[in-house]
């Protein structure tokens, strides 16, 4: 493989993993922007959607049906989470909200362990998703290209949504000044529910792509992605949607770069290097790459 081909191969890897992080980070950033809540349970929506998709496939239904069911399950679970766990805490201290999100995570993960056992189960994705495309000397996983294309499509749709629909603009308004939003008659409950619904749907998409990629599901599968999404949104500037997306691709690139550059004895510690880089960045730019100055919140 020539240097150029190697670069291209790694670039595809980086953009593909960055795309998954981006879809996750958007959900975190949308909710954080409005409520100042870091919803760690966001990762478990990946797990909920994947398990529901798996169950539907086990019933003998086609993958497309399973995928739709999985996406619906993630979305409904996210909406239920907001309604049951977070809405009663509206206006509570940020620490109380954070602790609640840990409780929701623990609840959902243990529920999954009880229902489906702690071990992983195979996730039989259709063979098209597991195809490998050979381009000259490049080997590109079909799933990588699908992830990149799906994320690009969803990001465009999301941009149109937050720029030109009433609910989308209201979402941005509420994340800038919640009090002013209420005084203007913006229905904050509806905006928050929309943020959860969209973020959860995107988590469902990540769940399908991720499960198809690794070929299995397990009750704790949401932990790593939500951590990475959190890091990505901190890199970009917590609460900023463009920041979350940018941070996700930066993180994906950084991971692939370190994977390639680190001597093989150190690659198991790749994440330690990633977090070191994160700390360095936060020392230089405490609010992330696109994060502005701290805003007053009520």
């Amino acid at each position: 493989m020539s240097a150029l081909e190697l670069l291209l191969q790694q670039l595809i890897n980086a953009v593909s993993i960055g795309s998954l992080y981006a879809l996750m980070a958007i959900g975190l950033a949308m909710v954080f922007g409005i409520l100042r809540l870091i919803n760690f349970a966001h990762g478990d929506l990946i797990m909920v959607g994947s398990y529901v998709a798996l169950l539907v496939m086990m019933l003998g239904l086609p993958f497309a049906v399973a995928a739709v069911a999985g996406l619906a399950a993630s979305t409904l679970a996210g909406l239920a989470m907001e309604r049951v766990a977070y809405r009663p805490l509206r206006g509570a201290h940020e620490i109380a909200m954070l602790l609640t999100s840990f409780s929701v995570t623990i609840f959902l993960e243990n529920l999954a362990i009880i229902l489906f056992r702690p071990t992983s189960r195979p996730f039989p994705a259709p063979s098209v998703l597991r195809s490998v495309i050979i381009l000259g000397k490049l080997q590109v996983a079909g799933l990588d290209l699908i992830a990149i294309a799906v994320a690009a499509l969803l990001l465009v749709a999301l941009t149109v949504f937050v720029r030109s629909t009433n609910v989308g603009i209201a979402m941005r308004a509420a994340s800038q000044d919640l009090l002013a939003a209420r005084l203007m008659g913006i229905n904050v409950n509806r905006v928050v529910a929309a943020a959860f619904a969209i973020g959860s749907l995107l988590a469902g998409v990540v769940g399908l792509l991720w499960s198809a990629r690794v070929g299995k599901v397990d009750p704790l599968m949401g932990f790593n992605p939500v951590l990475k999404a959190f890091v990505a949104s901190v890199i970009g500037g917590l609460g900023s949607l463009p920041g979350a997306v940018l941070g996700a691709y930066v993180l994906g690139g950084l991971e692939i770069l370190l994977q390639g550059l680190l001597p093989s004895t150190l690659t198991p510690y790749r994440d330690a290097f990633v977090f070191t880089a994160l700390i360095a960045l936060l020392l230089l730019r405490p609010n992330g790459i696109l994060g502005g100055t701290e805003r007053e919140k009520i």
Partner: protein, 240 residues
Amino acid sequence: MLKLEAVEVAYGHIVALTGVSLRVLDGELVALLGANGAGKSTTLMSISGIVRPRGGTLEYNGADLSRASPLDIVGLGVIQCPEGRRIFGGLTVLENLRMGAIRRRDAGAVRRDLDWVLSLFPVLGQRRHQSGATLSGGEQQMLAMARALMGSPRLLLLDEPSLGLAPIVVQAIFQVIGELHRRGVTILLVEQNVRQALAVADRGYVLATGRVILEGSGARLLSHPELEQAYLSAAPGDRR
């Protein structure tokens, strides 16, 4: 008619209003005056349903505001333009104005109101695609007022619209307030700029330490020696 009767508000241990009673009749422009910390903003926030009074009654045209949500209160046509402008800095001027009209379903009237507010504040038309954060202080205040007007207020609550602005901008703001009054919009105007406020107002109330200490016509208030004192008196402490 807006009617507040013995409204009491506390923030934890800090008592902000110890019993505010006031009335605003339809079509009136009423000034609400008083020193910093007297409770003017708290009065407006309790009318808007943002803070809940622990005593007293708030009514607007017979509706009980103390039970209504901020959303319902906006629905009644009671719209507040808050202290400190609080425009959406990351939204464009047009997006800010669109948010002001978000609960309205009468698209045709919304379009007419947009033309109207842009004629009241022509500079906003020139800046329509600029983000709110890039406007000057005076332009932001105009945007805040225009955004409130996009809600088609029957009762407009204005909290210190002239605060920190250059005299020429203050003139422009007061001119618009007078114009709104002539058009029949009912206005409750909170101001530190006493003389200018009383010049346009039909009547005024003076708050000190969370209660009304004076009320009456502009001329009566201006001639009253206690008015000066009200501005020198201290903010309420944490009395229970």
